[in-house]
């Protein structure tokens, strides 16, 4: 007798006044920070978040979440019988954000350095005008040490080395491009001139995510590889290259016919990954050079600023063109990618049988978009304003305006600290706390830089 009753309770059956025993649903709520009050249908629920509200007869309910010091969050939530409506990633935005001026500047430009715990800020075009912020300590120091021969060279572009304290810098020399690798740390930054390893003209530089000493670049349809540690160059190991990507110690290459092959890093053991004719025709159709983003063996995006956004497994473009930025996100078996055009942002979802692009919002002049809060939110910049958009809720997505940045600059976001970094109107470097820090990630130190190492 007890057993069937408990099973029915677990399935959602409940006795509701005036309605008898009916199938009910529930709303599961988790917020960051936790501890928010929950109001369902205007009535306060005794438990704080994270929690779930049971025994709700099917219907639509207004749900409000309130936490002291934060903007309240409200939405209309549909509850179905035997179903759970999951609001697991509600990020409550601080009402009066905690800000900190980290450096006075004035700076012109700000950039993140990938997975390393540093930010770069520039007050001018020259390498000597760039500073590095260690976001673990909040301290800044010049990118190049005093007396460096590269101080007066203009920075053409920089490329962080994944999961390392290294930064690749392309500098404009008197008669040729200079290539430099900087090791960022708490001591004076070590600068290594790599110019002798590179030809005069090269493009589409990528560091190997599996080996921080290896980098690849394209040159006139050829793909070359450089090992920085051994100063070895493996020139032109693949030819007719119309795009490439790196994943799992393998190189993925698009050839002139639009075929996609996977090969070892020396060009051997090539195997055809895709010869889907429509995809191949799109890849081969225009002059664009594609970057292949490999989310896993079967999930690939082909992105070019000049061509359409394509995906393996489908024979039509996800976006026709004008995609300025693609930010992949892979975690816990879930894969997705953020797509930014000049006037709209969207997300490619790989959880279904076929990849699918959903446009999340529009803007007037979108300049940056990043994933935030474990991929559940998107931070984007429209003109000078920075917004937070929900990307993973079963209700109408909330859009929150957060702050304004200096004209011509872009914000950076560090998931580990939960802070947005930006340049204010006066060009000072400021941090703005959006979410609670994630201490498990904060303990990660740069290579050769044990936590707590003394300043020189």
């Amino acid at each position: 007798m007890v057993c069937p009753l408990i099973v029915l309770y677990a399935l959602g059956y409940a006795g509701i006044p005036n309605e008898g025993v009916i199938k009910t649903g529930l709303v599961s709520v988790a917020t960051a920070p936790p501890g928010a009050s929950v109001l369902v249908g205007g009535a306060p629920y005794p438990q704080k978040t994270p929690t779930f509200v049971r025994n709700l007869p099917p219907g639509r309910y207004p749900v409000t979440l309130q936490l002291k010091g934060h903007r309240s969050w409200s939405s209309s939530v549909e509850v179905e019988e035997e179903k759970a409506t999951v609001l697991e990633n509600v990020l409550l935005v601080p009402a009066e954000p905690e800000t900190e001026r980290l450096a006075e500047g004035p700076f012109q430009e700000l950039a993140a350095t990938g997975d390393a715990p540093f930010l770069l800020a520039r007050s001018g075009p020259r390498a000597g005008e760039a500073v590095v912020l260690d976001w673990r300590t909040g301290r800044t120091r010049p990118l190049l040490p005093p007396g460096s021969v590269f101080l007066s060279n203009r920075i053409e572009f920089w490329e962080p080395v994944p999961e390392s304290p290294y930064l690749f810098l392309a500098l404009k020399g008197e008669d040729r491009r200079l290539c430099v690798r900087a090791k960022l740390g708490r001591g004076p930054h070590e600068i290594e001139d790599l110019s002798h390893l590179f030809p005069e003209r090269f493009a589409h530089l990528q560091w190997d995510p599996a080996d921080r000493d290896e980098l690849f670049f394209a040159e006139d349809g050829f793909l070359s590889r450089v090992n920085v540690k051994s100063s070895a160059v493996y020139p032109k190991f693949a030819e007719g290259v119309r795009g490439y990507g790196l994943a799992g110690r393998k190189v993925y290459v698009v050839d002139g016919l639009g075929r996609v092959t996977r090969m070892d890093r020396d060009g051997t053991n090539a195997e055809l990954v895709s010869e889907e004719p429509l995809l191949a025709s799109y890849l081969a159709r225009n002059k664009a050079f594609y970057r292949i983003l490999v989310l896993d063996r079967e999930k690939m995006l082909f992105w070019s600023e000049k061509g359409p956004l394509l995906a393996a497994g489908i024979s039509y473009p996800l976006a026709e063109g004008g995609v300025e930025e693609v930010v992949p996100y892979v975690s816990g078996g879930k894969s997705k990618a953020l797509v930014r055009e000049r006037h709209r942002i969207g997300a490619v979802d790989f959880s279904g049988e076929l990849p699918w692009l959903t446009w999340l919002g529009r803007g007037r002049e979108l300049v940056r978009a990043v994933w935030a809060h474990g991929g559940s939110h998107v931070l984007f910049q429209d003109g000078r304003k920075v917004f937070l958009l929900e990307a993973d809720v079963p209700v109408k997505a909330h859009l929150e305006e957060l702050l304004e940045v200096k004209e011509g600059s872009a914000f950076a976001f560090v998931e580990e600290t939960g802070k947005i970094y930006y340049l204010d109107r006066a060009g000072a470097l400021v941090s703005w706390r959006l979410a609670p820090p994630r201490p498990s990630l904060l303990g990660r130190g740069a290579e050769g830089q044990p936590e707590g190492a003394a300043e020189p």
């Binding site: 057993c3 099973v7 309770y9 677990a10 649903g25 529930l26 779930f52 179903k83």
Partner: protein
């Protein structure tokens, strides 16, 4: 009823039926486990409902079990100081004895005396035909089968008989020695025989190897020794009705009251020649030398037997036990081709006497060794093999079922009760721990979008969490009882050791899965595939 209690040498329909019934337990266990894994992947919602229903069933069963273990432990405590020999003398003069019974002093004595009064009243009502023989005419046959156990293993058991509060001149000790035993063991057995006197007799019977129709099993050795003893009793003119046979493991050490208690229960039982007598086995001989997991496991075995003792209707003999020698001879001794001779002899007698055979529980302990070996890992292997051998008791199932099919005299409901218990017991042994510790969590782990967005996905952890929290009450009770049952040996840090032992109970989920359910599933799988086991003598070291 004449029924050949064996699964070997069958032909035709019997062979087919036997094989089908051999497959059934393993097939059922695997179907349950793999079926739940499949269900967890394909229909996690249905799997979660099944898990909740199973967890509830398990909770009620462990509550029920715990209540009966508590009752049995109380009874064991009550009978701890009973003077069994005095009660035996009382039964010798039954009519005069009843009015002489003194009033009880405390609640324990009151309960014990109440039970005693009911027993002698039932004996009196059974009439002259059930009148017991005088106790001085009761003889005990005690068989210690020895295969490779050394003197340090079997000698404490012999010594424990010397210390009995019961006349030794009525005890015949037989060491059943395997011919294939190492020469050193044979020499030690014969040396030991010279060290003991005062018994009715002390025989060393060597069981020849390779007798036709026998497997290399303990039952064959014990049977050979019992036949030899039967010839001696016949020669001395002692009727088999007056003899109680005890077949002990070589390491069995009996408490000083054992034979007094056994004699009392034998005399007080009106159907004494159709009965076995089951003490509570404990594993105290080397308890504190054994690793924690082995201690917990063997204490669990003692608890199981304690619980079983509270339900004599379904009680089956286990490990070292005693029985009427007349019944043993009439039903054709222990099976000579089965590993699980301890339980098989009950079923053999039950079928032979058309269901008019029972096991009488005795609230007295006998102690055996925990299967310890040279090191931690070897002990794990040793314990695993021992449990696999115990689980081989599943070999009784097909034979008993065939016996039930041909026997028309056993009431159908008794057949049904025993069949269900035998089958369910073995399947539960092989599956429950896996379901609780591993498979029960799969629906949540493999939840797809459909299940993870259901009310059940959120309710299930709360419901199962509550069930496991309630089950902790049972675990805590078990911990407390296990402390009560611990051997009294003086130790350097007794309090610390006892606390540590209580803490060891928290590892029950792992121990039950890997050293109880897994060997049982291993056994059933071998049986399913027809890969039969031979007797593996448990390595015992001190």
């Amino acid at each position: 009823m004449t029924f050949r209690f064996s699964g070997r040498g069958l032909t035709g329909r019997d062979r087919t039926l036997q094989r089908a019934l051999e497959i059934l337990p393993g097939l059922t266990s695997w179907s349950i486990l793999l079926g739940m894994v499949w269900l967890s992947f394909r229909h996690p919602l249905a799997a979660a409902v099944a898990v909740i229903a199973f967890d509830l069933h398990w909770l009620f069963r462990i509550f029920y079990t715990t209540v009966f273990i508590v009752l049995a432990t109380i009874r064991l405590s009550i009978e701890k100081n009973t003077d069994w020999v005095a009660r035996v003398r009382g039964i010798d003069r039954l009519d005069a004895y009843r009015p002489e019974l003194p009033p009880a002093a405390g609640w324990k004595e009151k309960f014990s005396l109440g039970a005693h009064r009911r027993q002698i009243e039932s004996l009196r009502r059974a009439g002259a035909s059930a009148a017991p023989p005088p106790s001085k005419e009761i003889y005990h046959l005690v068989i210690f089968p020895v295969a490779k156990e050394t003197r340090e293993i079997f000698e404490p058991g012999l010594r424990s008989i010397v210390y009995q509060r019961y006349p030794l001149k009525n005890i015949l000790v037989v060491i059943a020695l395997e011919e294939r035993a190492p020469e050193d063991v044979k020499r030690q057995v014969h040396e030991a025989r010279k060290s003991f006197d005062g018994f009715f007799d002390f025989l060393v019977v060597t069981h020849p190897d390779g007798i036709a129709g026998e497997a290399r099993v303990k039952g064959a050795n014990a049977t050979y020794a019992a036949r030899e003893a039967a010839r001696l009793f016949e020669k001395k003119g002692i009727p088999f009705e007056n003899v109680i046979a005890s077949c002990f493991d070589a390491d069995t050490v009996v408490s000083p009251d054992y034979f007094g208690c056994l004699t009392y229960h034998f005399l007080a039982e009106p159907g004494r020649t159709r009965a076995s007598f089951q003490p509570i086995p404990v594993y105290h001989n080397n308890f504190w030398d054994a690793p924690g997991y082995a201690r917990v496991l063997e204490m669990g075995s003692s608890f199981f037997q304690l619980m079983e003792a509270t339900n004599p209707e379904k009680l089956v003999t286990f490990s070292s036990h005693s029985m009427s020698f007349k019944a043993l001879v009439d039903c054709g001794y222990w099976p000579v081709d089965m590993i699980s001779d301890d339980s098989a002899i009950f079923w053999k007698a039950y079928l032979h006497f058309d269901g008019r055979y029972r096991v009488v529980p005795m609230y007295v302990t006998l102690s055996m060794d925990v299967a310890v070996s040279d090191n931690w890992w070897k002990t794990v292997k040793n314990v695993y093999k021992q449990k696999r051998r115990w689980a081989w008791g599943v070999e009784n199932f097909p034979i008993v079922m065939r016996g039930f099919l041909v026997n028309r005299r056993i009431p159908a409901y008794m057949k049904f009760k025993h069949a269900v218990k035998l089958f369910e017991g073995h399947v539960a042994w092989a599956t429950w721990a896996f379901l609780l510790a591993v498979i029960g969590w799969l629906p949540g782990l493999f939840a797809g979008a459909e299940f993870s967005n259901s009310v059940l996905f959120y309710s299930a952890p709360r419901v199962t969490g509550t069930i496991f929290n309630l089950a902790l009450l049972s675990l805590v009770t078990t911990m407390a009882l296990s402390l009560y049952l611990l051997p009294d040996r003086k130790m350097r840090h007794p309090l610390w050791s006892r606390i540590l032992f209580a803490v060891e109970w928290t590892f029950v989920p792992f121990i039950a899965t890997f050293l109880s359910a897994m060997p049982a599933l291993d056994t059933q799988t071998r049986f399913l595939l027809g890969r039969y086991m031979e007797f593996w003598v448990t390595e015992k070291k001190r």
